[in-house]
């Protein structure tokens, strides 16, 4: 019998290969027409060079968003193993999971009502 970890290694190789291949092929075949927007900082809109604007201060909203993301991210991390073993865990685990999700929903409703989801 082959080791159960071989599919895992295969998956890692496939994922890495796909990433390398995509980046290389895009660089080789894609058209290169630069404009101002294309060379801007990606994602967060904070200019890191030559000097960070506002003395390097980041609006606190980013932290709030990041924290909220982590909470719900962790929730889904817990949901995955539960989902894969759902058929074996039975009713008890289902009730526990519902309670867990409800708890996170309580936090969600608090964030929503207190304006944590409004950007401005």
């Amino acid at each position: 019998m082959t080791s159960p970890y071989i599919p895992l290694l295969f998956l890692v190789a496939l994922g890495g290969g796909f990433a390398v291949f995509s980046v290389l092929i895009a660089g080789l075949t894609g058209p290169k027409r630069y404009n101002r927007a294309k060379v801007d900082a990606y994602e967060c809109g904070i200019e890191p060079t030559p000097q960070a604007s506002g003395g390097g201060k980041v609006p606190i909203k980013y932290y709030l968003t990041a924290m909220l993301f982590i909470i719900f991210d962790v929730e889904s991390v817990f949901l995955y193993p539960f989902a894969t073993a759902f058929d074996k865990l039975g009713l008890f685990a289902l009730v526990e999971m519902v309670l867990f999700i409800l708890t996170v929903f309580v936090a969600y409703s608090y964030v929503w009502r207190r304006g944590g989801l409004d950007w401005d």
Binding site: T2, P4, P7, K88, V106, A107, S109, Y110, R114
Partner: protein
């Protein structure tokens, strides 16, 4: 799913849960969830009243559940990760009573709209237009109450934790709300924020120590369960000693940090001074109680077999704690810092009881925690009543500098008298709870602790004398010194603070005059389930 993967997943077996045994914990956590929902959906005007009522009802319900169900229902549940036994039930009951008193002091409005000690908006000064604007925009101070409930839930879990992971989770659940609450003071914002940051950073360090220790112990015993660690230790494998001793010491550092033992005490004065005074009282009484509960359990259950490897170090910590706490309290000029250093010294006295390693030692520690908790909450409630005059007759910030307390006894004999009595209890004068408590921890140390126990008891008595000097000096200042030029007023408390002070003081008297009932309760509760 491939057959190969299926073999990796063992058959799932649902854990047995004894719901009656953990009902108090569940009620408190449930109440905190409802509290968060109230915070989200209840109209602002009624939020304060709703939250206070909800918090008190939750705590009372948990206390009721404890007395009805878990008192006689000693059990290991959730696969051994929660152990409800004598010490756990005793400490949980005390915790619930003390946190009810703590919540009463937090709810005090002093004539304002919301709980007075807490800020609705970090950047606004009390009574300023900015603060009024923040209040109009919907910022309130009632979040403190769900936070308190979450902290209480963690504290209930901490002394009942049966493995290191549960203990760690309980530690974090009780600490995180406290870090926030420390930073919520409405007056002296900078001090409060500084306190919160220091408490958080040092607390994070100590949590890391705890986790490092837990990892080493897992490597040693192959399990995080306290009984498993104990049984592996009993089978002593000298080759693995190098994992055991550092592991035990690192876990103990994490726990000793929470009780403020020297040299892990440096956060105590700052956090106690900066935190809103009702929070300081709650923190001092309840955190100490929960953390000593956990220390008792690890010392008597998990690390009992390895006692000779860590005993000397903890004895040194206990002696240092008593000496440093009492000597530094002499130099303090701020009432809250003075009480903070005195709480450090008290942590040392309680450690002496822990190190007796006998049933009487456990009994003494349990009794000490009850006595100290009631006295502390009442004392900090009184500190929150003494204010410097604010601008145009409004409520000012606390007159915490010692010079402002001069001559207080002449104008406000009742308040100063009660405070003096509580100070005498801290000092351990006979006919107060402090005397009985000190006797209850020093006697078993002398009887069962061998030469080290006698040494610690002697150091303890000497340090009591030093702290006694500090308290008597404050009493002399209040009653026999002319008032200074500062304008100091004593606010007239509402029923909330009055009840907290009265109950705390009454308990201090009762435990001093007739300690029999609580002592026998503590005695019958002093047996751990292994």
């Amino acid at each position: 799913m491939t057959p190969a993967v299926t073999t990796l997943v063992p058959a799932f077996e649902a854990v047995k849960v004894d719901y009656t045994a953990i009902a108090p914990i569940l009620i408190v956590f449930g109440g905190s969830m409802v509290g968060v929902l109230v915070e989200a959906f209840a109209p602002r005007r009624s939020r304060h009243t709703t939250q206070v009522a909800l918090t008190l009802v939750t705590l009372a319900a948990a206390l009721g559940a404890l007395l009805l169900w878990s008192r006689d229902n000693h059990a290991k549940t959730l696969g051994g990760s929660i152990v409800i036994d004598g010490p756990a039930v005793f400490l949980q009951g005390t915790l619930l009573v003390l946190s009810i008193l703590g919540v009463l002091t937090m709810a005090e409005k002093w004539g304002g709209q919301d709980a007075d000690a807490f800020t609705p908006m970090g950047a606004a000064t009390p009574g300023s237009p900015q603060e009024a604007a923040a209040a109009r925009a919907g910022f309130t101070t009632s979040e403190v109450f769900p936070l308190t409930l979450i902290a209480v839930g963690g504290m209930l879990l901490f002394p009942a934790a049966g493995d290191l992971i549960t203990a760690f989770i309980a530690l974090e659940v009780l600490s995180l709300p406290l870090y926030i609450m420390t930073g919520l003071a409405r007056r002296r914002r900078l001090l409060s924020q500084e306190a919160s940051l220091k408490y958080f950073l040092l607390g994070a360090f100590s949590s890391a120590f705890f986790l490092f220790g837990a990892a080493l112990l897992f490597a040693y015993a192959g399990s995080l369960d306290f009984d498993k660690i104990a049984s592996v230790t009993a089978a002593a494998d000298p080759a693995l000693e190098g994992l055991l001793v550092p592991g035990v010491l690192l876990v103990l550092i994490g726990l000793l940090f929470k009780v403020g033992a020297v040299p892990f005490h440096s956060w105590t004065p700052d956090a106690y001074q900066g935190a809103p005074t009702p929070v300081t009282g709650f923190m001092a009484a309840c955190t100490k109680l929960a953390a000593f509960g956990a220390i008792l359990r690890v010392a008597y259950v998990a690390f009992d077999g390895s006692r000779w490897d860590w005993r000397v170090e903890v004895i040194a910590v206990a002696i240092l704690t008593m000496v440093v706490g009492s000597v530094l309290s002499v130099t303090q000029t701020d009432v809250k810092r003075l009480l903070a250093y005195s709480s450090v010294a008290h942590a040392g006295f309680i450690l002496v009881g822990v190190l007796a390693f006998s049933r009487q030692g456990v009994q003494g520690v349990l009794f000490y925690l009850v006595a100290y908790g009631f006295t502390t909450i009442a004392a900090f409630a009184i500190v929150s009543m003494v204010r410097a005059g604010g601008p145009d007759g409004s409520v000012g910030s606390e007159a915490s500098h010692l010079s402002q307390w001069a001559g207080l006894g002449k104008e406000h004999p009742v308040v100063a008298g009660v405070f003096a009595f509580l100070l005498l209890a801290f000092a351990g004068i006979p006919l107060t709870s402090g005397f009985t408590a000190k006797f209850a921890v020093f006697a078993p140390a002398v009887a069962d602790g061998g030469r080290a126990g006698v040494t610690m008891a002697i150091v303890g008595v000497l340090c009591s004398a030093i702290t006694g000097f500090v308290y008597v000096r404050l009493i002399v200042l209040m009653f026999f010194t002319e008032a200074g030029s500062d304008e100091v007023e004593v606010l007239v408390p509402s029923a909330l603070t009055t009840v907290a002070v009265t109950v705390g003081t009454a308990a201090t008297v009762l435990l001093g005059i007739a300690p029999g009932l609580v002592l026998s309760l503590a005695d019958s509760a002093s047996q751990f389930i292994r």
